[in-house]
Symmetry: C2
């Protein structure tokens, strides 16, 4: 199973907001045309990013902007903002393992800590990459 495209779309959106903020008003329609999804998908995504304090969205007059400093927003922040399922747990367990089996009874005791380590390794790496880093990469391709 893969992590949903909401995450990559969110990063795409942030890049667009930053890259074109001086050229035009950043509407959900404009963002939708770059990503190639329905504008409503973008609006819902922007709401999630807004709740997380990552963007500001102007109702009525329209327009989205990034809130705060690019180097303060990590990929983990974006990930957590849009991938909110499962109470933050990357790994999914089967329900109701057999309590009368020594293994079934203890499966969480046995595995939880290991899985947490794996998730932490991934999140740690995501925490180390900021939108500033991504923009530095992006400009190399945009300006050519």
């Amino acid at each position: 199973m893969q992590i949903s495209s909401r995450f990559t779309i969110a990063v795409h959106v942030l890049i667009c907001i930053e890259a074109f903020k001086n050229e035009r008003k950043i509407t959900s329609e404009f963002l939708a045309s770059s990503v190639n999804v329905n504008p409503v998908v973008i609006r819902r995504l922007l709401q999630q990013l807004k709740k997380a304090g990552i963007v500001e969205v102007k109702r009525g007059s329209g327009g989205a902007d990034i809130a705060g400093n690019l180097s303060d927003i990590t990929l983990l922040d974006v990930y957590n903002a849009v991938e909110s399922v499962g109470e933050g747990q990357l790994f999914h367990f089967h329900d109701n393992p057999n309590p009368r089996c020594p293994v079934g009874k203890n499966i969480h005791n046995i595995m939880d800590e290991r899985l947490r380590e794996i998730q932490e390794a991934m999140e740690s790496r995501m925490r180390s990459i900021t939108i500033k880093n991504i923009m530095d990469d992006a400009y190399q391709y945009i300006n050519s």
Copy 2:
């Protein structure tokens, strides 16, 4: 989105096979009762693990066993055996970004390497944990 429970079920199954191999024949029905899923789910899972060379399954007479050495089987091996979707890519992209937008056109150039790093961090951690490690943990709980 979470990683499917096939992975945690697979580890559960391997623990059971190893823990009870001297006490009883390990049938799909027995494993299913410990995990609390339908035996057919276990049989399909065992086929995936078999294709990956992780277990041996006897047709007819019945019974599953772990193939090879416990310390040679990593969690990444198990993960790759049962989570085969998306051509091994953890992150999912939206299709057909707008080629006439400088960001849309380059979104893969911009992001692919970063995402690969994140996935590598996670896989590297999974590679460092073997079924032997898991069994050492397991016995502490099973024998008490």
